[in-house]
Symmetry: C2
Subunit: 315 residues, 2 copies
């Protein structure tokens, strides 16, 4: 197992201008693991209820995802209901039913506890910390995500967690909220000074900005003709990002830059269809082709001695 | 004269979290011409009042800007007052005094009418159209900007103008408003179908997105530690963009991509100080160095046969 992810596995009811789904497989660990599975071996630690569908377990297995850490507990699977009808970039939550997730205490077996890469997807920071503490050796790279709820109700635990991870993935609004700094470049610096060596700010339709003590990197969002369902875009980004790094072992500046583009690639696929419909059916060629589209979207020629910056005569 | 710009010359009263200025030289034609003057010869067509300061006329001349088309009329110079106290990305207008601008009817002499590049900065689209119609031959490239006011009160004239320009520069919100399409990639396509071969969507702190029938290009904003005064960022972008194209004559895809980065470079300088304070004092080396910073901000390695996309064993 190259990457261990701990996070939610959920059934979502979601409505967007493109349609409506009920009981759609979702949750941060689902989006993350399916995206990462294109690149390397992933294992999930999480919990579902007795209502969890066999076909969904088989879908994970078809992607080589290790679900030995996916506990099946008495009760119902975590459920989220929401819509993106007013603004495709902003989910309006109708209902959150924690169900079996309410009493979730993750257990790690030997294979989980020795995974070299760890992603602590968006759940209660106490659970994220407990998983990190249960690792038998420090992973090569630990990344986490979070949400505004935990900033509101669990700030001390979240601050402790941020102090212990290598990479923090966080939404723009949450970065502003946590740092109380509206200006993103200085908010990101402030987060870097609290522990992580890399901070990835997720900006939805504007892409992602990666900050590091050594460099900054801007990754645009891919200009899709239609966004069908934005749910899971951030976790799919994280899955591509961590999947690339875990598969190559490359945490150099060049590796992180490429990883951010692989992440952007997976996020762009995620939103093209409802739920995991697009991400789980991708070929290796689809992914390589979209990566190349990001090259085309961002490339420009540097200045050179033969083709430098023009200058007004006399200036 | 390589570029003719028609637009406003103004005295602005502006307040930002970084300070306050009264009677600061501004206006779309000022920001555009000073930015473009680093690269090529620019001439302004516009109007000011009897209160216009000699030192400001001399500032233009020091940048080689041709002000023979800058009429000095009886009355006061156009004045705008506003602040960015709530949100550094959004100006709140306190007052707009048109003054001499109310009766402005631009006259073009032979040198103006034969300029090979024309920028129709944000003014009433009827004036933009009249200047375009007075050109004695079709310029190699005509670009225009606009604002929400003209979409509200002069949509037919604006639509006619958009049908006649090569490049449209427009804010994100205005692109949505004009096309009645909230999704930017399709809004941009809709604008392209109305005439321009290139549409540049200005996104403030998120940079700029350039759409063309042949390609898309994303230019990030430079992550500055502090934004002092965002006034004139869009016009400075346009000045860098048009200045680069006019100086090189390069309207190829590669030229347009570079021009967008030169534009982003000039916009990033514009907001670093109040008014024209930074833009007018730049050296050629400052500009080349910032351009290189954009290379560093966006570069990543393409996939290659030796270093391709990793793949999960068995997938």
């Amino acid at each position: 197992m190259k990457i261990l992810v701990v996070g939610s596995v959920a059934y979502d009811a979601v409505e967007t201008p493109e349609g409506k789904r009920v009981s759609q497989l979702g949750g941060s660990a689902s989006y993350f693991s399916v995206a990462a599975s294109h690149f390397t071996d992933v294992g999930i630690v999480g919990v579902v209820g007795r209502d969890f569908r066999d076909e969904d377990l088989r879908m994970y297995e078809a992607h080589g995802i290790d679900i030995s850490g996916l506990e099946i507990a008495d009760g119902k699977t975590f459920r989220w209901a929401g819509d993106y009808m007013q603004d495709i970039n902003t989910a309006v939550t109708h209902e959150t039913q924690l169900n079996v997730f309410a009493d979730f205490t993750p257990d790690l077996d030997e294979r989980h506890a020795t995974a070299p890469y760890l992603f602590l997807a968006n759940i209660n920071p106490s659970i994220q910390l407990s998983v990190l503490n249960k690792m038998s050796s420090r992973p090569k790279l630990v990344a986490c995500d979070t949400m505004n709820l935990w900033i509101d109700i669990a700030r001390p635990a979240l601050a402790e967690l941020i102090g212990k991870v290598d990479a923090l993935m966080i939404n723009e609004g949450e970065a502003r909220q946590f740092t109380e700094d509206d200006h993103l470049p200085t908010a990101a610096r402030s987060l870097l000074n609290q522990g992580p060596s890399t901070v990835v700010i997720k900006r939805g339709e504007y892409g992602a900005a990666m900050f590091n003590h050594a460099f900054n990197f801007a990754a645009p969002a891919y200009p899709l003709a239609t966004v069908v369902d934005p749910t899971g875009a951030g976790d799919s980004f994280a899955g591509g990002f961590m999947g690339y790094i875990a598969a190559t072992g490359d945490t150099s500046e060049e590796g992180l830059r490429r990883a951010a583009i692989v992440g952007s690639t997976m996020a762009s696929f995620a939103v093209e269809a409802f739920g995991l419909d697009r991400t789980r059916n991708l070929t290796h060629e689809d992914i390589a082709e979209r990566y190349q589209s990001f090259v085309n979207l961002t490339r420009f020629l540097p200045l050179s001695s033969s083709s430098g910056l023009p200058r007004r005569p006399g200036s």
